[in-house]
Symmetry: C2
Subunit: 523 residues, 2 copies
């Protein structure tokens, strides 16, 4: 049996367990994965649809996740020499028009501002008034406007490199939206850099790609496949796009981030020129790179279980919740006071270079409801403290990465001593699980039959759920990609940096393989 | 001589010194204050106008200031029980329409989105396509959209209070813009809270007003006048608006922030109702409060001098810059290495609960140019280190709050020992200066003649620069406010919380005074 076939049969041997125990989320992942996702977003209080078509409301727990991501990324950006700045929300059409491929890729789905005033009509209704001379779009991404600004900043090689990041909202009109994964408005960061040489731009593109990978592994506990995009899947206007692709628990890929080498395409359309050391005027080389609130969706789908969200401690808005279990009014004040002290004691501990984030949940609601709410929200550690624990100086501790009934009793001293280690154990455990899942469901294939077993048959024999990702030797072209997309909804997620084994042939064309590609269905 | 007259003659005795020494900024404040402001914004590399009408580009040094403001405010918001969330950028007209006063106040100056697609016309030009069924505006402020969302969240008194803040961009079409002070797009935070009772909403409004005041005093080193807004100046839709008014160095007022008690106005228009403990359905009480990138403009005008910006250490993106003074190539590597070590040594020190922010400026440019660049950027402390200082283990230190030629020589140990204290001295010194300026130019007036001396005559006798603020006993109404605005461009900046002295009469109407008001020209 070949390695590939063995991997395939392993995947195929997995069956759906229809006799699930009671879970906090209905339906389970196995029953209906897309609906499970929506339910987790809802019941973990992460986000909701808004009265504005295609736009979401990011609720405090979901936004807290984004804040943690922002902090961790921002530190990494600054540690690699970048600074933040802010550029206009609106882009005049004449600027958008400058880069032809870019227009093709983005112009079709923009929110267009055409007026700058409202008036009241005869029936008292507000209506647009005062048309603009030139309409503008809300930025779908900022290469064109930032390029225009950079053209004014760059005169000499001494002005380079420019290493700037922007935290911003962007807007792309989407007809079919899913919270976090695809919404009209989303939050992101977009790095935009300018360099004197092609080599420096390439180095920057790869550096930020690696910064993303480290962040995803260390903070999100998510393994990713890294590779170049094929010409079909490249960012409109880029010379080369590098992506990070994570596997969700339905075997589909989610593109978690991209880093683009834009070559001289945007510097030529925006006219970013500089006087080089050799006295020559040259067009600069630019890059752009971004990750968005979409990562929240990836985090949910990578780690969640049938009880809801499971958060890696490094990224959890709160890492530990203390739930005072009040059975009657007597002793309530003393218990709350006791728990407050415990909260500040634990909050003074340090984990991963930061203070431990402790939340004391004093709300007046049933303990069981409160408990399950925090399970669904995925908080790494839950502590229950009742009057008996208070008297004994202990806590009852539950870890979200373990069974919801697995509990341990610890004294305060034991807890303080073990907490940082335990948080790291949870972090490592989640990464190991996700990594094992990814590896179990990644199949090295050599021919089309193996491809079809993964994607056309899949887990249920009719292809509604793929077995996972395929890694294949490849000598295909855009037409082959189009065919795989049309027939199987499968795309080349990325082209790996590792070359194909000597002598290997394309799994589809039987030509000598040029490269190794990751193939998957995707979000 | 009455106290008021004495104060007036003090003010009047100040004259403009036309024989200024050479300064880094041309013109000086005395020569042309508005142009001085523009030059500081430009030469301190804070921001610039953009290719998009009315929108600014916030450059890294300016954005760094905003980031510091964000961090400090965000901590204070969280310490007072608030969390962050994010709401849609766009507001459908039907929502905007719901609160009548609000529409009146904001609808006139909005960016209106009317299409969701672009097409290419016969000449190849991009044009709007696919009109929306209902146009939307880019949020000028978010009461209406957030109110609509809150209406879905609030069912019971147990859901209250809601204590949420949003960091966001907003857009108000402005015909005459000035960087930071008045731009079409700006960045801000907007707190939006919901409460069960009027008393709680009032307490929240006052709490956040005080949080702003503490932040402005402690971090921005800016004293402010605090008071209610008059009905004329109130936020559209508010029951009561509380503002913080700072004095700029041209004697004009800048509104630095506001906190609004919205009563039940928005809860009624958005239908935010809850079932109270007593079994009754009730409309909730809401508040909103915000500060923006406008504060950067205030900071410039409060502390800057004729050499450029002067930054309070608490809010400076970098608090100290190390400038290696390289006279020839020999020894350059050793010097840079020496300075890197010094930078990390100083960066490990702590000031005001944070690591000291140190910047090592290794750029290849003339030392004098570099030095003046940092003067203009307002960095609190500049260190020069040449080969001789390296050998002696010393640095030459310049404080931005002192003369540009006042320098002291310190050993590394002395520097490490004195740095945190010195930063606090600079912080305190800037506050003391701004406070003295504000007090010197605040006149307690009792009649219209004194008012006119301040505003109609002013420093130059023709009123182009007021002497400062007037505090007056007041029994006026909206019509009087309109007249003062029309005739003198003076408005009631705020109504102080301190009552008028017993028996005092309105400076304008001679009626018994109801309250004490602060009158000023303003931005």
């Amino acid at each position: 049996m070949s390695a590939a076939s063995k991997a395939l049969s392993q995947g195929a041997s997995k069956t759906t367990n229809n006799a699930m125990p009671r879970t906090a989320i209905t339906p389970t992942r196995a029953d209906n994965y897309p609906e499970w996702y929506q339910q987790v977003v809802d019941q973990a209080d992460l986000a909701e649809t808004s009265p504005v078509r295609g736009c979401m409301v990011i609720k405090p727990w979901g936004y807290g996740l984004w804040e943690q991501m922002q902090q961790k990324l921002d530190k990494r950006f600054k540690d690699t020499g970048h600074v933040n700045a802010y550029f206009p929300l609106l882009i005049p059409l004449r600027l958008l028009q400058k880069e032809a491929d870019h227009v093709e890729g983005f112009a079709k789905e923009c929110a267009v501002v055409t007026h700058h005033r409202l008036a009241t009509d005869a029936s008292g209704k507000l209506v647009p008034a005062s048309p603009l001379e030139e309409p503008m779009v809300i930025r779908p991404t900022s290469e064109t406007i930032i390029g225009e600004v950079y053209a004014g900043w760059v005169k000499s090689y001494r002005d380079l490199p420019i290493l700037i990041n922007q935290w911003a909202n962007v807007f792309r009109w989407e007809m079919r939206t899913r919270l976090f994964l695809r919404t009209a408005e989303f939050l992101w960061q977009e790095g935009h850099t300018v360099h004197a040489t092609a080599a420096e731009a390439q180095a920057e593109t790869e550096l930020m790609w690696q910064v993303y990978a480290d962040f995803m592994q260390d903070c999100l506990a998510m393994p990713v496949f890294m590779g170049r995009k094929s010409a079909n899947e490249r960012f409109p206007g880029a010379v080369e796009s590098y992506s990070l692709e994570a596997m969700m628990q339905d075997g589909k890929a989610l593109q978690m981030g991209t880093s683009h080498n834009l070559g001289q395409n945007f510097s030529k359309s925006a006219n970013i020129q500089f006087l080089d050391k050799d006295g020559q005027h040259k067009h600069a080389y630019t890059t752009s790179w971004g990750v968005s609130t979409r990562m929240v969706g990836g985090l949910i789908m990578a780690h969640g279980d049938d009880d809801g969200l499971i958060l890696p401690p490094r990224i959890a808005p709160s890492q530990l919740v203390i739930i005072p279990v009040v059975r009657d009014a007597a002793g309530e004040d003393a218990l709350l006071d006791h728990c407050s002290k415990l909260a500040s004691q634990l909050g003074s501990l340090s984990y991963a270079g930061e203070s431990v984030r402790v939340h004391l949940d004093k709300r007046d609601m049933r303990g069981g409801d409160k408990f399950w709410e925090w399970v669904k929200r995925g908080i790494p550690i839950r502590l229950e403290v009742g009057l008996r624990e208070m008297e004994q100086g202990t806590v009852t501790l539950y870890r979200r990465d373990q069974g919801s009934k697995d509990r341990i009793t610890l004294t305060h001293d034991q807890l303080a001593q073990q907490l940082p280690t335990m948080l790291q154990e949870i972090q490592d455990n989640l990464f190991a699980r996700a990594k094992a899942y990814q590896q179990d469901r990644t199949y090295h294939i050599t021919n089309r039959q193996e491809f079809e077993a993964i994607f056309a048959k899949g887990e249920d024999g009719v292809g509604s759920k793929p077995l996972g990702f395929a890694i294949a030797p490849w000598a295909g072209d855009g037409a082959l990609e189009d065919a795989l997309k049309k027939d199987f909804a499968v795309t080349v997620r990325c082209i790996l940096t590792t070359p194909p084994p000597a002598g290997s042939r394309c799994a589809f064309t039987d030509q000598p393989a040029r490269e190794m590609v990751v193939l998957a269905k995707s979000y």
